[in-house]
């Protein structure tokens, strides 16, 4: 069997529709089961642990009914043996979609990616990719997302696509608990029992909206994004009622631009956005004034480096006008530079190494990532990340810390 776990229902929906291609089929497109562990060799603060270990799994199921109607269900599970707060059951996708000609409508939980740069793969430095909330408990580097409920309608032109999103339910960020590492609060603030506040009276159910227009030519993909809703990263404020910390989510109007373009052996990328904030600080202390944020860079590909392998060098600049003030970002004036090596071998071996460095203060994050297939069904993903930051840096809480991340998955 080519699809060992395939369940082909093959239920004829309507016997009356003789001659028409009406069928129903549900099958497993992809799935994996794996182990992942984060290990921190150094000691953290007294309450902090040395890491965690979890079993992870995901299934991608798809159903199709006739020509235009289909559904996707992508349940994800993580069960952590050491840090139960990392455990998660989530519908990364649970949607129905209907397409007719150039139109497509989707309803349900979805996961999208609007990022185009490399830096966002190392740290939670995303600029425009804000429609899905991040699961920072799952991955402190911000690579894990949560499914987001949305209704989408899109239209595909000859060289462009327009998408409109209605976002009826905002999900709060999933933070690690105080014993977790790579935690900016160093065990001093526990966000797992933090109250959640919203600057809108409608709370999590305030309707958000987004519009995205992407243009594609042979040499460039350019997208414009307008997002209106809560910023996915909350402010951490004191809750004077409970005496604990509170997560405060505030509204933004984001106007963003992403570009991916090729120019000979060069690849040019940017994701840049302006965030208009609405609330004035007299009502909600700490909400930043409107700000700019950008990650932009280039990648150069060497041809036939080391006999048929692909070698690319990339450099990106990170800028954020909030600076490193309170409630700013650690990535306000940084450079990320690195190398990507793709072996083009039977095991799809890839190595990515990079260093992010602050320009106006000493703050260094280095990451090395190695990925390859083992045999037919297994894949190993190894990452090493280490921090070195001065006392006045927003990353000082991570100074001298390092992590070994290992993920082994069996795909079926």
């Amino acid at each position: 069997m080519r699809w060992p776990a395939t369940c082909v229902a093959g239920v004829a929906l309507a016997a009356g529709c003789a001659g028409s291609n009406v069928y129903a089929q549900v099958r497993l497109d992809r799935g994996y089961l794996g182990l992942e562990t984060y290990y921190y060799p150094q000691d953290g603060s007294p309450v902090q642990k040395h890491g965690n270990a979890a079993v992870i799994g995901q299934l991608e199921l798809r159903g199709r009914w006739g020509e235009g109607l289909s559904a996707k269900l992508t349940p994800f599970a993580r069960v952590d043996a050491i840090d139960s707060h990392r455990s998660l059951f989530d519908a990364h996708e649970a949607e129905v979609e209907y397409s007719a000609g150039r139109w497509r409508a989707q309803l349900g939980m979805r996961m999208l990616s609007w990022s185009v740069t490399e830096s966002v793969g190392v740290l939670p430095a995303q600029v425009v990719d804000i429609i899905n909330q991040r699961d920072l408990a799952g991955d402190p580097a911000g690579q894990e997302k949560l499914g987001t409920a949305m209704a989408t309608i899109s239209y595909q032109g000859d060289s462009f696509r327009l998408e409109g999103f209605a976002l009826p339910w905002f999900r709060k960020r999933k933070f690690p608990d105080e014993t977790a590492r790579e935690n900016p609060f160093q065990g001093l603030v526990n966000l797992t029992d933090a109250t959640v506040q919203y600057t809108s009276e409608s709370g999590a159910h305030r309707m958000g909206a987004a519009v995205r227009a992407e243009y594609s030519s042979d040499h460039a993909n350019v997208a414009l994004i307008q997002y209106q809703g809560y910023a996915p990263q909350p402010l951490i404020v004191p809750d004077f009622v409970t005496g604990r910390a509170a997560e405060l989510y505030y509204l933004i109007d984001m106007t963003g631009l992403t570009v991916q373009a090729t120019l000979g052996q060069w690849l040019l990328k940017t994701e840049t956005a302006y965030f208009g904030t609405r609330e004035n600080s007299s009502r909600f202390a700490g909400v930043p004034a409107s700000y700019w944020s950008s990650v932009s860079g280039v990648e150069y590909t060497f041809v036939n480096a080391f006999g048929g392998t692909d070698l690319g060098l990339f450099a990106e600049g990170l800028f954020d006008s909030r600076g490193r003030a309170t409630n700013g970002t650690p990535f306000h004036e940084d450079v990320f530079a690195g190398v990507r090596w793709v072996a083009n071998d039977q095991s799809d071996t890839q190595i990515l190494g990079g260093v992010m460095s602050g320009l106006d203060q000493h703050a260094l994050v280095a990451q090395f990532q190695f990925q390859r297939r083992i045999g037919t069904h297994y894949q190993v993903d190894l990452r090493l990340r280490t921090y070195n930051a001065a006392k006045d840096s927003p990353l000082s809480a991570f100074n001298e810390d390092s992590v070994v991340f290992l993920k082994l998955r069996r795909f079926f």
Binding site: R30, R161, A220, T262
Partner: protein, 292 residues
């Protein structure tokens, strides 16, 4: 209009007559496409080599869109095997190079990865990769056409050979039922200094290729077998075997029967909607009798 011209040049081409004789029937795009090529091929051997490939090229126009399943067996020097499965979809664009969608099915960790390519002759192809794990479509730099395709002994350059303008041709000799024609890649980052090809006189199809590396040494040999004809016109090999003489590795591609004039939706050949392509069912690669 194009169809009529094609059937004419098919007949002419297959009869081995000079294509120039049909000048009155040649649409403008063929003239415009061929003119620089013909100008660049000066000597009698070059003209003869170009003529053979020109006939092959024009014979292969008119299939609209196609779908085929590829099963790739990778065999290393010690005889260990691994397997890849890909569904390939192509669409013919009027007066432009073809667009290709490759949808990876096996190994399981890359299943659902989609590669979209707009072929270019003298510059790098335009290429995008949809990564299902990240739901992200990346524009990738396809400068390196000579690297391995999916870890096989085929490079991207070996697979995407449909454009006539990618090479400079020279007729070498006749060898039994074949013509031997040398092709020199035009692309500056090609992995090869030259390719020696054997073209079947009966149907103008390339049945064997020897690839010579940049230093001029024999690197690989490709044999194309199990020929089938579709829609009465289009010849395709169902088995391709590439042997690498340097590393001792071998890749055998077994193809499913082709679905030609497949009526594929052309708007799906766009970087904007790679995420919307449903995973196809694996297409069987059991060879069947050629279409009549």
């Amino acid at each position: 209009m194009k169809g009529k011209f094609l059937s004419v040049c098919l007949a002419v081409g297959l009869a081995g007559s000079a294509l120039g004789a049909t000048g009155a029937e040649e649409p403008a795009w063929v003239k415009a496409y061929m003119a620089p090529l013909e100008a660049a091929h000066g000597s009698a051997e070059e003209k003869q080599g170009l003529k053979i490939y020109e006939t092959q090229y024009l014979m292969d126009k008119g299939w609209g869109s196609l779908e085929v399943g590829l099963q790739m067996r990778l065999i290393d020097a010690a005889g260990r095997e691994s397997e890849r499965r890909v569904v390939e979809r192509k669409t013919e664009e009027p007066e432009q190079p073809n667009k290709t969608l490759g949808i990876f099915l096996e190994p399981a960790d890359v299943r659902g990865t989609v590669m979209l390519t707009f072929e270019k002759s003298t510059e790098s192809d335009d290429q995008w990769l949809f990564l299902p794990a990240f739901k992200r479509t990346k524009k990738i730099n396809a400068v390196n056409k000579s690297g391995s395709f999916l870890g096989t002994e085929f490079s991207w350059e070996d697979i995407s050979t449909s454009e006539l303008t990618k090479y400079h041709y020279r007729f070498l000799r006749e060898e039994g039922a074949t013509w031997v024609v040398e092709r020199v890649p035009v692309y500056q980052f090609s992995g090869y200094s030259r390719e020696v090809t054997w073209v079947d006189k009966s149907n103008y199809q390339t049945v064997k290729v020897e690839y010579y590396d940049r230093k001029g040494d024999l690197l690989k040999t490709l044999n194309l077998d199990e020929w089938a004809q579709y829609l009465g016109h289009y010849w395709r090999p169902l088995r391709m075997e590439m042997s690498n003489h340097v590393n001792g590795k071998k890749t055998i591609i077994q193809l499913s029967p082709y679905r030609m004039n497949a009526g594929l939706d052309k708007k799906m050949f766009s970087s904007l909607v790679l995420e919307d392509i449903p995973l196809p069912n694996p297409i069987g690669t059991t060879p069947v009798a050629a279409a009549k």
